[in-house]
């Protein structure tokens, strides 16, 4: 048996080795990934990010070069940290922190070590970079804003986070991606495609030559320039008007659905989010939970529409034959129904027909119209479904489908909605009468309101609002050129539009007329509440206004929403008139109105709930005073 010891050992070792090889090469081995292979250096060639122009061809966003120092932790060799830190202008603590962070992310993948070097630092560092194994400089392109406005529309670019990298393998640590606004919506078109070169390294980290003669290398594809529908001058003017106020302005060109301006206030200067101060500024903006400058109120601020909604109540009632233009109602300063607390009215009492009902914003008139629309059917739930479909055909109650981050749906209640609220089905028109004046359960966003206005201006259809005008060498989405029809017949619009015209002519906005322009509009005021120390408290009403002009060839439809601005004409109306004049005449003649809007501030109004003291609301006196130095809101909530 002695001759078998070696024989058995040989067989055993052979089997052991083959199993070990199987374990290493088949069982635990991963797909050979060039990106994971540290023998291959990956050099990215970032393409030019597309420029952004406004509708008149004015450059809004260009690029500027930027240099990041990248690190691959496992390739770092002992180095002269003192020299390195002084070159990078950081201290040792920062060095250790950045290094550990990169190492924690991945020892073998590159991370940003120091971002956005100045050109001077770059020039000095580039000479000495060879001395520091594991570190290299990556050139990138940063945004260079040619305007200080429209931050919410333009969005910004930021470094990708790990979540994005996991979802989309195109992005690598340190890459930039568009966030918010058009940078996000048109990220793919703007960014182009980066090129990559694979280079064989040796163990001393020197380049030997292209890997497989560049078989896998790609060349970058330049980003496409885009033109957006924003009118830079109008946008700037809107933001100017909204300073010291909170809210949004959305202006749309009715015959195309192009968004002329999308103002959100408070806003920020887009240049704040460029380069090294970016992260500091971003946190400051992001954590400002009271002013929320990063939230686009034009798209995201849901509110009750208030009286502008009466235009739709009228249109629905006409369509359903519940009223005709001559139907009249006698208003006694309040609307009495079903033995409940009456609904007040500010129209000044008297006989109201459709025209004067709209012009004077008579609550009683529309309560009546709404009630007739619902009561026409035996079943309130069925009636509400029909009513709801009419309203929704104006683009309310759902995402509009515009090419910006989607915003909010709003709410248009239907029958089922109230069946759920009142499970015993004991509800009827009077139960939900608040909807008739745009309060109740109806919720909209400013852009929905503007789109609704555009649909009225077009006498029955609208184009999905959009921000993109042209993309270099590419067609824009077809849906933006397809009209969407409302369920209201065309003939019903004229009397309503006449009413809206008379709002300016002789109604609630008669002091807002713009010489030489026939404007149709509607004021709106929405009650609103907040919680102060868990106690429900009413705040000053929101000021809401919709308008379009000129009456017979609408060029602009606009919705203005000013938080706690009191009644509709006071802020919303003034701003709408100024915007319309600015857009149509390219200059503003209403100098006094402009001065008033520019100089007055609502900051004091916004401070009230945080003051800790009792306060009055809807006090009309404040317009008499100037508030040149808005106080910072206290944050003891």
């Amino acid at each position: 048996m002695r001759q078998f010891l070696l024989f058995a050992s040989v067989i055993l070792v052979g089997l052991l080795f083959i199993s070990r090889l199987f374990y290493l090469q088949v069982y635990t081995s991963n797909e050979h990934d060039l990106f994971e292979d540290n023998a291959i250096r990956k050099v990215y060639d970032y393409p030019k990010r597309g420029f952004v122009y406004d509708r008149n061809g004015e450059l809004l966003v260009a690029n500027q070069p930027s240099y990041d120092v990248m690190v691959i932790p496992r390739e770092v060799e002992p180095l002269d940290t003192l020299e390195f830190c002084s070159l990078l202008k950081i201290d040792k603590a920062q060095f250790i922190k950045s290094y550990n962070k990169a190492r924690h992310y991945s020892p073998r993948l590159p991370s940003v070590f120091v971002s956005h070097l100045s050109k001077e630092d770059y020039a000095v560092l580039q000479e000495k970079m060879r001395k520091f194994d594991g570190f290299y400089i990556q050139k990138r392109s940063l945004r260079d804003y040619q305007t200080s406005t429209a931050a919410n529309v333009l969005g910004f670019i930021a470094e990708v986070n790990q979540g994005i990298i996991e979802k989309n393998p195109y992005y690598k640590m340190g890459d930039l991606i568009g966030r918010k606004g058009i940078e996000e919506s048109y990220e793919k078109e703007l960014r182009g495609t980066k090129g990559i070169k694979f280079i064989q390294k040796d163990r001393f980290n020197r380049n030997i030559g292209p890997y497989k003669n560049g078989k896998f290398d790609t060349i970058p594809v330049q980003g496409k320039d885009i033109t957006i529908t924003i009118d830079k001058k109008l946008q700037e003017y809107g933001e100017l008007l909204m300073q010291n106020k909170r809210g949004g302005i959305v202006a749309i060109e009715p015959k195309t659905g192009e968004i002329l301006s999308l103002v959100s206030a408070p806003t920020y200067n887009p240049n704040l989010l460029v380069g090294r101060p970016r992260s500091k500024n971003f946190s400051k903006l992001h954590y400002d939970s009271i002013r929320t400058p990063l939230i686009d109120r034009g798209l995201l601020r849901m509110h009750e529409p208030g009286s502008p909604f009466k235009a739709l109540i009228a249109l629905t009632a006409l369509q359903e034959n519940a009223i005709d233009p001559n139907t009249s109602v006698s208003c006694s300063g309040a609307y009495y129904y079903g033995g409940r607390k009456p609904m007040g009215c500010h129209c000044g009492s008297g006989r109201r027909n459709l025209n004067s009902g709209i012009a004077k914003s008579c609550n009683s008139y529309f309560a009546n119209a709404f009630r007739k629309t619902i009561d026409k059917y035996d079943d309130a739930s069925q009636a509400m479904d029909i009513w709801s479909d009419h309203i929704k055909s104006f683009g309310l109650g759902d995402f509009l489908g515009y090419d910006l981050p989607p915003g909010k749906k709003g709410n248009i209640p239907n029958g089922a909605y109230y069946d759920k609220w009142y499970p015993d089905f004991r509800w009827g028109a009077t139960t939900i009468i608040s909807n008739s004046i745009g309060q109740g359960e109806v919720l909209v966003t400013p852009i929905q309101l503007a789109n609704m206005t555009a649909a009225i201006a077009n006498r029955g259809y609208y184009f999905t609002p959009h921000i993109i005008k042209t993309i270099e060498g590419q067609n824009i989405d077809e849906k933006f050129a397809t009209p969407k029809y409302t369920t209201i017949d065309k003939q019903h619009f004229e009397p309503v539009i006449q009413g809206l015209y008379d709002v300016y002519n002789k109604g609630t906005a008669n002091f807002l007329r713009v010489p030489g322009i026939e404007i149709c509009g509607k004021t709106g005021t929405a009650e609103n509440f907040t919680k102060i120390n868990n106690v429900r408290a009413q705040l000053t009403d929101h000021s809401i206004f919709i308008a379009f002009a000129p009456k017979n060839n609408p060029q602009i439809a606009i919705a203005v929403f000013v938080e706690n601005g009191y009644y509709g004409a006071r802020w919303g109306g003034r701003i709408a008139s100024l915007m319309i004049e600015k857009y149509l005449k390219k200059e503003v003649t209403l100098k006094y109105m402009e001065k008033l809007v520019l100089e007055k501030s609502l900051e004091e109004e916004y401070d009230k709930p945080y003051s800790g003291k009792p306060f009055t609301i809807n006090d009309g006196q404040k317009l008499q005073y100037l508030h040149l130095e808005p106080k910072n809101a206290e944050t003891d909530r």
């Binding site: 067989i11 070792v13 052979g14 291959i40």
Partner: protein, 425 residues
Amino acid sequence: MLRQTDRKFKFDWITILLFLLLVGFGYLNILSASHTGDVIDYFNFSEPYGKQLLFIFLTFGLIIVILAFDAKFYERFSSIIYIVSILSLLGLFIFGKNVNGATSWYGIGGMTLQPSEFAKAATALAVAKYLSDLNTNINNLKDQISIFVIITIPAFLILLQNDAGSTIVYASFFFVLYREGLPKYYLTLGVSVMLIAVSSLKFGALATSIIAVVLVFGFYFLNKKKVSLFQSILALVVTIAMSFGVKAFYDNVLKPHQKNRITIWLSLEKDPAKLEAMKKTFAYNLNESEKAIREGRFTGKGFMEGTRTTGKFVPEQHTDYIFSTVGEEWGFLGSAFVVIVFVLLIIRILHLAEAQKSQFSRVYGYAVASIIFIHFLINTGMVMGLIPTVGIPLPFFSYGGSGLWGFTILLFIFVKLDSNKINEW
């Protein structure tokens, strides 16, 4: 019945074919591991691949010379060959050239020669000669000591030249002696020593002692008739002394780099940060070679396509770490092929050795198989991370003239002896 003239060429062609496979495949891998740039000048003798081609060419001359001698020559002159070999090792202390810390080279012009590579064949001849002597009885302690001395002299001289790896190779003669009748307790002892050493390092001396107590007494109570209590206690005392002794040996005698290799092998370091640091320093080679093998996956990256090989990430890849090139570029298929060729070669030699009619030829053949086996075991095991790092080449495969010629002489003396077996009576 073969005619006399045919008999001259009655070599074992299977062995020769396996030999050629290893040398040829080895050359391809050396070429891949040592070339730089896109243009390869196959006859550039300043590059390893060029030199290896020359070495291989000269090897064929060497083979012809070896086979040309009469088979009896090797038996008759074995003592002289052995003595010449010992002298060449001794000469290193005066004329030796230091390469990488080991003084195991002669510098002759631009060439270097490593006598320890030839000493293996010489020792094998000497052992074969001594054991096949009619007066030798391996169960006799005196003869055991004599053989031990024959084997230890070259081993010790090589150790003194700071080439611990080549010294370990001489342990392979254990297989030869055991085959020829060395008492069984040597095997028991050898295996026990290895187990105790590994266990003591991995689990600690105390744990090893406790395990030993349980095992020895368990064995005693089950086999009371065969083993006396005194024998059991003696075994236990020796075992316990050894387990503590190994620890002391590890702590005090081993050099830091040797300790580190064992630390890595037995995964004694638990701190991931320190382990990471080790992988960058002394375990760099091992780590890189394992990585290269791993990345080869099933089919490999292709000849000359290995990114780690091209980037020369594994230092000494064309010599001791050549197997990692096979792993990366030829994948599991190529690596398993090499393992199988080695196993076949060793088994073929064993098979031929058992068929020898003369004891000299059989012992020598056994020695050849054992030596190739131990090289294959240690080198390949090391590159795969199964065995602590020991710097010895892969026979016929690694770059190097002395190694290739040493193994060629070793193997082809046996091929010659084998071809002559029909005349042995």
